[in-house]
Amino acid sequence: MIRLLLALLLLAVPARAQEALVAALSQDAVEVTTGFTGAQLMVFGSTDQPIGPGGDELLVVAQGPNRPVVVRRKVAALGFLWVNGPSARFAQVPGFYFIAGTRPAWQLLPEEQRRRHALGLDSLPLTSTGARDPRFRAALLDLEKRSGLWVEDTQPVEVAGSRLFHARLPLPAGVPTGDYRVQVLLVRSRQVVAQQTLEFRVDRVGTADRIATVAEDQPFVYGIACIFLAALAGWVGSVVFRRS
């Protein structure tokens, strides 16, 4: 598939040769069905100058819809019972975050630039209310990374023929639905010289979508349906598997 995409890109490049950076996504919609186990998107494109050591560098960063998250710390109540204690509330936490580059972002750009573009987990603007301990932020990073929803530099952006690049964007099964934004940045001598923003959507479709939609919009109808379906399944089972 990669070869086909790159070949198509090569055909497209001459027409837009004056642009420093051209990038595209392998798909602009991801469908979450009842069989969804995650997906992989491809970000690919080309540059007008050679990529690599001494030349241009690339960063690909993707973010999913924001949501509020509470991080809680367990404390030993009465000295032996582990219960949730102090908590910090982060109002704007990306539900998905991905960054990859030809080299890690901290090697390519000064801190002030990284903060402006939210490049790298340490540069994410995460403000919290509640407990002030910086360990809550570190714990959030750790938990999100473990769930596979935040990905930082697990695989570098790959370069072919010094001007074609591609990066794989792994979406785990737990990705939130909504609008995603992918930014491709071209870095030359510690400056962002060109960037392109791409978008895709993650949507529930089919049965998974119908179940979730009914449950949200008509919870009473959904509750009644759950009761009848469960009762029906129980009755059918007792008929099918009767052993007396």
Binding site: T33, T34, G35, F36, T37, G38, R67, P68, V69, V70, V71, R72, R73, K74, A76, F80, L81, W82, V83, N84, F90, A91, F136, A139, L140, D142, L143, E144, A173, G174, P176, T207, A208, D209, I211, A212, A215, E216, P219, F220, Y222, G223, I224, A225, C226, I227, L229, A230, A231, L232, A233, G234, W235, V236, G237, S238, V240, F241, R242, R243
Partner: protein
Amino acid sequence: MAAAVLWNPALQVYLPIAEMSVDAFLLVGIGFGVGWLSGLFGVGGGFLLTPLLILIGIPAPVAVASGANQTLGASVSGLIAQWRRGNVDARMGTVLLIGGFIGSVLGVQLFALLRRIGQVDLAVSLFYVVVLGTVGALMVMESARAILRRRSAPQRKLHEHYWVHGLPFKMRFRKSRLYISVIPPLLIGGGIGILSAVMGVGGGFMLVPAMIYLLGIPTSVVIGTSLFQVVFVAANVTLLQAVQLGTVDILLTLLLLAGGVAGAQFGAAMGSRLRGEETRALLGLLVLGVALSLLWGLLRPPGNLFSSGAAL
């Protein structure tokens, strides 16, 4: 590619409400195991199911709500079987149910409050440890005594008289051969309604001993009547959880039921070959075991002190 997915031994299914992907065979297997035990002991099995679901990573609110939904389905088949044999005291069941409805409404409010203050996991675990620990210990002690007594004193009264028989608002329960006040069954039904909303259980494992020891209902109608109450209370909890919290995952419920109804029939066939006291002793040990393992979960220093969740 669709065919390849169908024959993959680890069939991943995306649960739309839990918003996660789980192996369908694991869920059907858990359903079968719990169903087998519940058929064997004549209880819904919710007290085993909800902790198991939490253990495999289902969020506690979804596990509790879907567990109640599953208990409903699992108990329906048992209720039908008992009803055919005439082992259901519908009048007693209705009185228990009125209490149960009130209790489950209160219980869901309590659950919503616990969720807001971020203590659902603790509360669910504590409820389990206290309730299962007490019930399990009582059952083991009582059945051990019964097994020992069986050899020495075979005679038994029709039913014993307790202090509860002195209360007002008496009512005649023909099937149970009782003439007692409606207050104790209402209170018992109410208490179990609260517990079933917070713990995601039908409450059969508490209701059965309460009916035998507190109300003096004959063992023959206890299981059928408790199933009657469990079915309707679980239905009420399902509806309340769906409307108030939106945490019932029907796909999760149906996968568990697919294994559960099969397991329950096999368990029930085996259960009819065991004696009453021995069944109660085994059930008591099982209940006690679940309580101890959850207690260990609360006492053991956690591997990761931090946890995160959606802010409400």
